[in-house]
């Protein structure tokens, strides 16, 4: 049984609370403004209008759920609405001080109210609802008069989310079942979480620094949704997220029903895996870093623990865990580079009427440390070399949920499939456009190609998909992509810094420096890549894209001409028709239920909520699970090259088999297989 993640909680931006060192983040104010002026592709005027934007973002970031502030508090803060530009330039901290004053007064009150509300059971028979903004960009604060009712409703929604957990069984038939938890346990769990959250805003020097960091983040987000401000530690996390070379203990954690942090999975071959003492379901009790005090876990949330475990300055720790049988074990672990199966691209063979290679690429990872990095494109190339030995008739590249990463890797990946030439164009703040090229003559694979995308395929994924579409190199299948056509670089606020390895822990600014165009000169910004053949909405229950984000940049077109030689047109219309004939029997109206707005109305009445859950999940079921044929047209195997490695031991074979089943039961992969089979047959017709 695979648990569905609590979707309403993951949709928002994750902000890692970091115990930043006491160096003055305030000194980054004016440096950040200078960086924006110097590098941002559309630098805004630093004036009252920017101040207003920063203000709106700032209060959203401090209180994304609108539970800390009342309207009266916001009015009080509004004395700074048009003054933040001046505050930043003069490095003044008046708005921070005022925010902290307000929070100092509010936190004990909210704590008390929360405890009182959660001590009483909720009546889920009452017909009421709540509006939830899953992008956390709402400023719908309520007045102090309405506050108690609002808090109660909000807490009720949180308890409902914790109580009713949708689950799917991927292995057999895919029907949604909702597992219910006792309300009292759920209330305790929510209480623990909310109080922990409120504790973050207690009157401490760290709180002032957190607010300062949020003000800088608000400044970045006022320029565009992808610019950001990072503290030193956050930058390390950002780099690790994109790098396949990250140091880690090799396990995932999640908060369980009781609000405890437990091990949710081990990375095969990683340090935790190799220790042979840790398992799924072990509850984490404490962490003791070398030469440091033991740290109790009980009151910390998942984000905090994640952050603690990722500390870049520490590699060795003793973890204390409670095993399922109740025994407590201490395990010493040393972080290591994760180069295990799960992190690396793998080429499968789908054997049916035709033999199709299948490669899923979850992100465009690369090596940050290397001047001439070798990243995911090289790994894909290796798999294709292996697949070529299998006499495959076609290849499917799966970029669903691939949110991008290194642009160079996207160019290199395109290079695998085209001879040479431009892949995209880019322009900086001057407006001058440059061509981004595949630097290698020749290709590795020239046969039929299909690229799978979905609404969360973004940035580098879109650059690759657009190039394949414009060159008539691949059939693009799936759903409209995210629509991000800008690229960012990370600049240290202290210009004397030479990167994140510096000992000086000043902050970093991720700034949007360029706009991206396809080889034809137009851009997919906000509009996304339209697939040649749509297979319905999948995977992402709460739909959002670039155009829904605040301050998204308009990219437009460029008059710059790129010299590219498109291949002959592909038989898209014929394939579309054949696919439609197959899918019209399958796709009902379910996929239309997907929410295409950042605000959703969540019913707080139990039966209505159950209906609501089934409705929003139906899109996912209709396409990826219940639509999947029980007898797919293909079987999944490894390439012969890797079979020895896979069969080398039981563990690697088990992982492989699980993944094969997952591919086989994926409706979109099934349809992609049918489409590419049709494509091969059409092109092979005499």
């Amino acid at each position: 049984m695979r648990k569905m993640r609590i979707i309403l909680a993951i949709a928002g931006t994750l902000i890692f609370w970091v115990n930043i060192t006491s160096q003055s983040v305030v000194s980054d104010y004016s440096k950040a403004i200078n960086i924006i002026k110097k590098y941002h592709v559309n630098p805004p005027e630093v004036n009252d209008s920017l101040s207003k934007k920063i203000f709106a973002k700032y209060v959203q970031l401090v209180d994304p759920e609108n539970i800390l502030f009342t309207l009266e508090n916001i009015d009080e803060l509004k004395t700074f609405e048009y003054k933040i530009d001046d505050e930043l330039i003069s490095q003044s901290t008046e708005i921070i001080k005022l925010t902290q004053q307000i929070l100092n007064a509010r936190i004990p009150v909210i704590e008390q109210k929360t405890q009182k509300i959660l001590n009483e059971p909720f009546d889920f028979g009452i017909d009421e609802e709540i509006v939830i903004n899953f992008l956390n960009n709402s400023n719908s604060f309520v007045s102090s008069k309405e506050y108690d009712n609002w808090l109660k409703k909000w807490l009720k929604s949180q308890v409902l989310l914790a109580m009713a957990m949708p689950e799917i069984d991927d292995s057999v038939k895919h029907t949604i079942t909702i597992k219910y938890k006792d309300q009292e346990i759920a209330r305790k769990q929510v209480q623990k979480k909310v109080l922990r959250k409120l504790k973050n805003w207690q009157n401490t020097p760290e709180t002032a620094e957190k607010l300062t960091v949020l003000l800088l983040k608000a400044l970045a987000l006022s320029c565009d949704p992808h610019s950001d401000y990072f503290t030193y530690k956050e930058l390390k996390q950002f780099e690790e997220a994109l790098s396949a070379e990250n140091m880690s203990f090799g396990f995932y954690i999640e908060e369980n029903m009781q609000g405890d942090i437990e091990i949710a999975g081990l990375v095969p071959g990683g340090p935790a895996w190799k220790s042979n003492q840790l398992n799924d379901g072990d509850v984490l009790l404490s962490i003791k870093w070398q030469n440091e005090q033991e740290l109790e876990i009980t009151e910390a949330g998942q984000e905090n623990i994640d952050e603690i475990l990722r500390r870049p300055d520490k590699t060795k720790a003793i973890l204390k865990v409670k095993k399922k049988n109740g025994t407590i074990v201490s395990v010493e672990l040393l972080k290591a580079k994760l180069t295990a199966e799960e992190n690396i691209v793998k080429g499968y063979v789908l054997k049916g009427i035709k033999r199709i290679g299948y490669i899923s690429l979850p992100d465009f990872y690369t090596e940050f440390e290397n001047m001439a990095p070798i990243g995911c494109a090289n790994d894909v190339a290796k798999e294709i070399i292996k697949l070529n030995k299998e006499n495959i008739d076609g290849i499917i590249i799966d970029l669903r949920d691939n949110g991008g990463g290194s642009m160079k890797e996207a160019l290199d990946l395109a290079g695998i499939f085209i001879d040479y030439g431009p892949v995209a164009m880019t322009s900086d703040k001057t407006g001058k456009a440059f061509i981004l090229k595949d630097l290698n003559r020749g290709s590795i694979y020239t046969g039929p190609l299909l690229v799978l995308i979905n609404g969360q395929s973004a940035s580098a994924s879109e650059v690759f998909a657009a190039a394949m579409q414009d060159y008539n190199r691949a059939i693009i299948v799936g759903e409209q992509s995210f629509g991000k056509a800008t690229s960012q670089i990370v600049i240290p606020c202290d210009s004397t810094e030479k990167g994140s390895n510096s000992k000086n822990k000043s902050g970093f600014f991720k700034v949007t420096v360029s706009k991206i165009y396809n080889v034809k000169g137009s851009s997919h910004q906000q509009s996304g890549i339209k697939p040649d053949i749509e297979t319905g909405i999948s995977g992402n229950i709460l739909f959002y894209n670039e155009s829904m984000l605040d301050n998204s940049i308009i990219v437009g077109t460029t008059s710059k001409q790129s010299f590219y030689k498109p291949l002959p047109q592909l038989p898209v219309e014929e394939l579309k028709q054949k696919s439609a004939e197959r899918t019209k029997q399958n796709i009902g109206t379910g996929s239309e239920q997907t929410i295409k707005n950042s605000e959703i109305i969540m019913p707080l009445q139990l039966e209505e909520y159950e209906k609501f859950l089934k409705t929003i999940y139906s899109g996912k079921y209709q396409t990826t699970s219940s639509l999947a044929s029980e007898k797919p047209e293909f079987t999944v195997t490894s390439n012969a090259f890797d079979s020895k490695l896979i069969n080398f031991n039981v563990d690697t074979r088990e992982i492989f088999e699980t993944y094969c089943k997952y591919i086989q039961n994926d409706y979109q992969v099934q349809e992609a297989f049918n489409i590419i089979t049709d494509y091969i047959e059409i092109t092979q017709k005499p």
């Binding site: 071959g269 190799k274 290796k382 431009p422 003559r441 590795i444 090259f641 020895k644 490695l645 031991n649």
Partner: protein, 346 residues
């Protein structure tokens, strides 16, 4: 290689059309002659440069190139200071324009006459951009040369100048040099494309960049095959096929390397990669916990790797030796060809 490379840069000079001698008393003729004599000086230096490329050292060739540049600059200066002839400035201006372009091209100041950014964008690498720029620059010189010829003809006709239609020795030598060079350039470009492609392939292998290696391997096979077909369409200079044969020998090697030899080498490197992963998994396990099947499988893999590494090493040695001998052969034949056909001139 460096010395031969100079010859590629040789942009054909507009041949001295006629043997002109001063004729006293004819003003128009003297005007025409003054410009013509500058061209002759240039032709003289050009031949010295071409001859030194074929028969002298690289250092000497470079010196002669600089001499030629100075001569052109001086000629341009001199002609541009001349008066118009009876208000007709066409011949003077056309000659200045030609000399200017020729100077810039010889001095490789391409950016002054070409849009290099656009050329770079149309090319896949710097080398192709460079060749494309050269072709376009040569076309510009030719165009300016034709304009000058036309203006000359008009001037001659208008002023009723009588010329002796007899080619000078120098003119004949320049014409021959241009032809020798044209053939060399054609064959060299075919050779060079594969030579460079192989360099990219070897570089990628050193970096373990499989993507780049496999792309360049395919590209090498393609360029070598295309090169072999292109060779068939070239007419040898004076029926001498030596240069073409040397090029063919190299291309045959590159094709065999890309199509047959290198493929198993890349596959072997992937096998070694996989073995490394297997080894890590194997070594991570306590020896006491290893099953017999795992130990057997591991030992089998070690044996396979050892066998294949011998064959890999043999192939690489074979390739290295052959590469060295084909490059050496090409250099020798090229040198002989230029020495044989470019006239000696001092």
């Amino acid at each position: 290689m460096k010395k031969l490379f100079f010859s590629i840069l040789l942009i054909s000079l507009m041949a001295v059309q006629t043997d002109i001698k001063a004729q006293s008393g004819n003003e128009a003729y003297n005007y025409y002659y003054t410009i013509g004599i500058e061209h002759t000086k240039i032709a003289d230096d050009y031949m010295k440069y071409a001859s030194s490329v074929a028969h002298g050292s690289a250092r000497k060739a470079e010196k002669k190139r600089v001499d030629l540049l100075i001569t052109i600059a001086q000629a341009k200066e001199k002609v541009s200071r001349m008066q118009c002839y009876n208000g007709d400035c066409a011949l003077r201006d056309s000659a200045v324009s030609y000399l200017n372009i020729y100077f810039l091209v010889l001095n490789q100041d391409y950016e002054k006459i070409l849009n290099l950014e656009e050329i770079a964008e149309q090319s896949y690498d710097m080398m192709e951009a460079y060749f494309l720029a050269q072709d376009m620059a040569a076309a510009k010189v030719e165009e300016a040369g034709k304009r000058l010829e036309k203006t000359e003809d008009e001037f001659i006709a208008k002023n009723n100048i009588k010329l002796t239609e007899q080619k000078s020795e120098l003119s004949k030598k320049i014409e021959q040099t241009n032809k020798v060079n044209e053939h060399y350039r054609k064959v060299y470009l075919i050779y060079f494309k594969s030579y460079k492609q192989e360099a990219y392939l070897l570089d990628a292998l050193t970096r373990k960049d499989y993507s780049s290696a496999e792309q360049n391997r395919n590209a090498l096979e393609q360029t070598a095959t295309e090169g072999l077909s292109a060779l068939d369409t070239i007419t040898p200079y004076k029926s001498d096929r030596s240069l073409m044969m040397a090029c063919k020998k190299s291309l045959d090697f590159y094709k065999r390397e890309a199509a047959e030899k290198m493929k198993p080498c890349i596959e072997f490197m992937l096998l070694a990669d996989n073995f490394e992963k297997m080894q890590k998994t194997f070594e991570a396990k306590d020896p006491m916990e290893r099953t017999k099947a795992e130990v057997d499988e591991y030992n089998k893999a070690v044996k396979e790797l050892n066998t294949k590494s011998t064959s890999f090493n043999n192939t690489f040695n074979y390739l290295n030796q052959n590469r060295e001998s084909t490059v050496k052969y090409w250099n020798e034949v090229s040198q002989m060809y230029l020495e044989k056909y470019i006239p000696k001139y001092k």
